[in-house]
């Protein structure tokens, strides 16, 4: 690990002024991603600002029907919080299915959204494109864990997948990420948070200079049911091969509103508006899950070793559908 400066801040203001100092800094929250990256010297920050002391950023509370989640809330907090489990169960499930209890107790929701790709080329010895090298080794290499959507060379040089479970659930609930910047408050919908990964922003997130995520805001839902399902290479402690979040609101046996979030399939968590539109208006007892699943995977462009993710996504989507329509 390379040497670095370390500052622990006690107030939001001191954090913001440290960030705005012009000195290149990196924020340290749970550290479950950052510290291993530093040990492997994949990221080499000059200075760390430890924000774990900012108690005002670990709230989970309702204000006027809207749920506010402080950026320092841990995944454990979210997985077990009554407001989350009852109103936004897919978020609670996504947090509860991430990693293992020890890691969930440490990792914050803000940090989770910003974690770097888990691609084994990026994390390992290969000098891949994302680390400033020439090629994406995964594109024609060991790509069984990689993207099946938005992965053509013109769409993205990197074919890793966004590893966050909560991001998929937050996308499902149209959550908004709030941050403080030197210019004031800023709100970005989770769907707009992620772009194509680049060597400058391997996680695909390019926040304005000096930004600090303060909270995540979820607007109330008009009823409905939701679920988050995750396929993993073992029973626990693994990133998703594919994950599906589904929200459906019914009225008189017909689908009034549907939202589909999918993880593990692209550099970004994905929504599928076309399939969502197709679901709306359908009679729950008669809908054709197979043709909806076909529509969902239409346009997939699997790589040499991840074609299995297509039937896996179909299967997981059908299971999610049967659960919310149950």
């Amino acid at each position: 690990m390379q040497t670095f400066d370390y500052v622990k801040v006690e107030t939001l203001e001191s954090a913001l002024s440290a960030i705005a100092s012009g000195y290149v800094v990196t924020l340290l929250a749970g550290g479950t991603d950052l510290v291993p990256l530093m040990k492997d010297e994949i990221v080499t920050p000059r200075a760390l600002i430890d924000i774990t002391g900012l108690e005002q950023l670990s709230h989970i509370e309702e204000r006027g029907g809207t749920l506010h989640i402080g950026a320092l809330s841990t995944l454990s907090d979210l997985a077990g919080h009554q407001l989350v489990t009852t109103r936004y169960p897919a978020l609670a499930q996504a947090c509860g299915l991430a990693a293992i209890p020890q890691l969930r107790n440490m990792s914050t929701i803000g940090g989770n959204l910003l974690q770097q790709p888990r691609c084994w080329y990026y994390r390992g010895e290969h000098n891949c494109w994302l680390k400033g090298g020439e090629v994406c080794y995964a594109r024609n290499g060991e790509n069984e864990l990689h993207a099946i959507f938005k992965n053509t060379p013109s769409q993205s040089r990197c074919v890793s997948v966004n590893p966050s479970d909560p991001a998929v659930a937050l996308l499902l609930y149209d959550a908004v990420v709030r941050m403080r910047t030197p210019e004031g408050e800023l709100e970005i919908p989770v769907g707009d948070l992620y772009g194509v990964p680049t060597p400058e922003h391997p996680n695909g997130v390019s926040l304005p200079a000096g930004a600090l995520i303060t909270e995540i805001v979820l607007e109330p839902l008009e009823g409905g049911r939701s679920v988050y399902l995750k396929a993993m290479p073992r029973a626990s402690w693994a990133f998703a091969l594919v994950s599906v979040g589904l929200y459906v609101r019914m009225d008189a046996g017909r689908v009034q509103e549907a939202r589909i979030g999918v993880g593990g399939v692209a550099t970004v968590p994905m929504r599928f508006p076309q399939v969502e539109a197709e679901l709306v208006g359908q009679d729950a007892t008669r809908l054709d899950a197979d043709s909806l699943a076909d529509l969902l995977v239409e346009g997939a462009t699997p790589l040499s070793k991840n074609g299995y993710k297509v039937p896996l996504l179909r299967g997981l989507f059908k299971q999610a559908l049967s659960q919310v329509l149950e």
Partner: protein
């Protein structure tokens, strides 16, 4: 009394002749049905408390004063030649105390002469280039970046199936394949007439079966701490074989073995890879001598997974034939084993095909193939796990084609004697294993699918069976010291790699001496103290060292009785020892504790000496059967193992609780191999992409099924006088096969390649056109 004899010893399928010292006549075997006070009773680990409280000091915990840290610069290429190497800049870095490389190290031959401790030619990514010793790890790591190396990159061979093709570059002085003593490639075994067998077969099953390269991932990585005092060196080492490390270091450093002391009191797991002596064990003493300071050289997880050994991948072409009445008439197996860059032997993949079933016509061919990857090593029943997966998958397929019950079929093809040597076995209770496993499985009922995550789950059941060695043999020696305070110390040069050997062998000593288990302290893992004991591999420790400690305890007991006879004023033969008290036979009055009796003679220490006698002529085998219940989610290709019933014939059970642990661990490691473990190598760069615990998946507690484990527990009195066989390896052997057969039962897909990941199963399900689901309906 002392005499020298020659005896046959078999370890992991390899037989050799051993010349051994027999000190005196061995005691009679503990007969079947004998009443014991300690043996066969469940005991907690005698060192459990020190392990869980952190009091146990592992290699990594050693920190002699003035110690330096060493790290290794490793080849970034799978095959390359060093054209220039300059370490001067690294040597100048403040805090660096020494750099060792081909520029300044003596020529020390390695890998059977194929290479050197530091060689110009590097044959796998991760091979040693230079080593830096510095005040701390960060400085040492920084110094590595200051070493200037130029490499000529050479063509690499990575594909085990193409390594012996014409035109492929030769990567090893002895060629790309292993040759036998007659310089012929591969190992061939044959009996009967296989062609004739297939001609009379009514049903033939054939397929190509593949098993992955699996990484040991012991919790504690390999490594050592070395420190000199005068002309003697002490090495704390995480090893399965302290005397092996001693011998290798002594020969490399050209010094007498008695001046090399190797200590390994606690080991954080060893599954075969710690039976070998790796380069760090020689490098650390060299650097220590060079710097005049103790050196710690521990591998990190990445290094551990690149170079410390593995279960090499296999490709097995298997063909089996039977007549309509269910009699096996032919087995033919051709296997390739990836032995990595420097492997010197091929795993015994063909063992199960040769021995597990009665079959007159068998031909096997095993070819070890070299590749530019880390060398393989022993890994818990090397070869037999892989071979059993193929053979038992084929037997399951044969049973289905014949319409026969898998256990009925196995009983019909039961071999009463060893068909390879023509001898009877010392014991074989495989029939009992089949029956007990069937009964336990039936009694347990169908496992619940209620606790599974939501899914389209299909239930299936499958079985596998197992043959393996596990007899051990001489030489193995031990001392038992009976102190005047009544406490007992066992001194033995064995090691407890986590199997609980300290506990089980303490029970043997307590039994023989008639003292409580708490009175016994087992001291092991130090070449300077314990008499010689063999490596902890091949499931040999209990059957090799167990008899030696029993003889030592018996010797001590006899001396105690003779001393006590003076004070009790009766002949020694009339005295008894029980629970630490001595009495005259048939009398309760006058009872005295052992300590009390010994206090009469002042500070006298009784020293009993024990040895392991020669082996019987008959081959020794362990046996077993496992039945797995699985659930398969048709939608996602997920497999969950719900339950495994395991019954093994490992002779007399010394500690049922400890044995159960061995069974649990073997089954869980078998589940890993069956469902998730797989070293992944980038084909273009030859680099391992998942040499870490994030990407290389091993089972977690959530993957752990219900396990119902049982030993047949009939002593093998022909094997040795304690009647026990080894148990460390048998329980992993049938697990992958049983799981694969259960998956077929559940979804009708015959998976011939491990691990059975979602990817593999979904690909196979799609290929078989969403396969017709077998008749039995799922319980979900």
């Amino acid at each position: 009394m002392t005499r020298v004899v020659k005896t046959r010893v078999e370890i992991e399928g390899r037989v050799h002749e051993e010349t051994v010292v027999v000190e005196r006549d061995e005691p009679a075997a503990w007969e079947a049905g004998r009443e014991f006070s300690q043996v066969g009773k469940s005991a907690n680990r005698v060192d459990g408390r020190e392990r869980v409280t952190g009091a146990a000091r592992y290699t990594y915990d050693m920190h002699p004063a003035g110690m330096l840290y060493a790290v290794v610069l490793r080849s970034p290429y799978p095959h390359a030649r060093i054209t220039s190497l300059d370490t001067t800049e690294a040597e100048r870095l403040s805090g660096v105390r020494g750099v060792l490389s081909k520029n300044n190290a003596a020529d020390i031959s390695w890998y059977g002469g194929a290479s050197k401790l530091f060689d110009d030619e590097l044959r796998f990514a991760g091979e040693e280039v230079a080593v830096v010793a510095a005040d701390d790890l960060d400085t040492a790591r920084e110094a590595l970046q200051l070493i200037n190396v130029e490499y000529e990159v050479l063509p690499a061979v990575l594909d085990v199936e193409k390594a012996s093709a014409p035109g492929v570059p030769v990567i090893h002085p002895k060629g790309n394949v292993l040759r036998d003593d007659n310089d012929q490639p591969g190992e061939t075994y044959s009996r009967g007439d296989v062609e004739q067998g297939f001609r009379i077969a009514d049903v033939v099953v054939e397929g190509t079966y593949r098993t992955p390269t699996a990484l040991h991932n012991s919790f504690e990585t390999h490594g050592c701490v070395a420190s000199w005092e005068g002309d003697e060196v002490t090495i704390w080492e995480s090893t399965q074989y302290i005397f092996g490390v001693r011998g290798r270091v002594a020969s490399a450093l050209k010094m007498p073995e008695s001046k090399v002391r190797v200590i390994s009191e606690y080991i954080g797991g060893g599954f075969g890879s710690k039976g070998q002596t790796l380069k760090h064990s020689v490098i650390a003493p060299l650097l220590s001598r060079m710097t005049g300071r103790p050196i710690k050289l521990m591998l990190d997880r990445h290094e551990e997974n690149l170079l410390s050994g593995n279960r090499g991948e296999t490709v097995q072409k298997l063909r089996v034939g039977a007549t309509n009445d269910g009699k096996l008439v032919a087995i033919e197996l051709e296997s390739l084993c990836n032995i990595g860059a420097y492997g010197t032997w091929a795993a015994s993949v063909a063992g199960p095909a040769q021995e597990l079933y009665l079959c007159p016509n068998v031909r096997t061919y095993t070819l070890g193939v070299r590749t530019n990857l880390g060398s393989h090593s022993a890994f818990r029943a090397p070869g037999h796990v892989e071979g059993t997966f193929a053979l038992e998958s084929a037997m399951d397929e044969l049973c289905r084609q014949l319409g026969m019950d898998p256990i009925e079929f196995r009983k019909k093809n039961y071999a009463d004697e060893d068909q390879v040597t023509g001898n009877p076995y010392t014991s074989k209770y495989l029939l009992e294993s089949y029956d007990m496993a069937s009964r336990l499985h039936a009694e347990a009922g169908k496992p619940s699918l209620d606790n599974l995550p939501p899914g389209n789950w299909k239930y299936g059941v499958g079985m596998g069976s197992q043959v393996w060695s596990g007899g051990g043999g001489p030489p193995a020696h031990a001392l038992v010291r009976l102190n005047s305070d009544g406490t007992v110390e066992v001194i033995c040069g064995t090691q407890d790699i986590g199997t609980g050997i300290k506990t089980a062998l303490s029970q043997v000593v307590a039994e023989e001496l008639g003292v409580p288990l708490e009175a016994v302290r087992f001291r092991l893992g130090d070449t300077q103290k314990g008499p010689f004991a063999p490596a902890s591999w091949g499931s040999i420790t209990v059957p090799s060292v167990g008899p030696a400690v029993r003889v030592a305890a018996e010797d001590a007991r006899q001396q105690l009785l003779e001393i006590a006879s003076y004070f009790f004023e009766v002949p020694a033969a009339r005295l008894q020892i029980k629970d630490g008290y001595m009495t005259v036979e048939g009398r309760e009055e006058g009872k005295r504790s052992v300590a009390d009796v010994l206090s009469e003679v002042g500070d006298y220490m009784i020293v009993g000496k024990g040895f392991r006698g020669p082996n019987p002529v008959e081959p020794l085998r362990t046996w077993g059967a496992q039945i797995a219940d699985v659930a398969v989610d048709l939608d996602t290709g997920r497999v969950r193992v719900l339950r495994v019933v395991a019954v093994h014939d490992v002779g007399r059970v010394l500690n049922p609780k400890g044995l159960a642990s061995q069974f649990y661990g073997g089954i869980l490691q078998g589940i890993g191999l069956a469902l998730m473990e797989d070293r992944v190598v980038d084909e273009r760069t030859g680099l391992v992409v998942n040499a870490n615990l994030q990407d290389y998946k091993i089972p977690t507690m959530s993957d752990c099924p219900e396990m119902i484990v049982q030993a047949v527990d009939i002593p093998d009195t022909a094997a040795n006088h304690i009647g026990s066989k080894g148990a460390g390896e048998p329980p992993i052997i049938p697990t992958p096969a049983a799981i694969a057969n259960a998956i077929y039962d559940a979804v009708g897909v015959r998976v011939r390649s491990l691990p059975v990941t979602s990817r593999r199963l979904l690909e196979d399900l799609v290929a078989s056109n969403s396969a017709p689901i077998p008749a039995e309906e799922s319980g979900s």
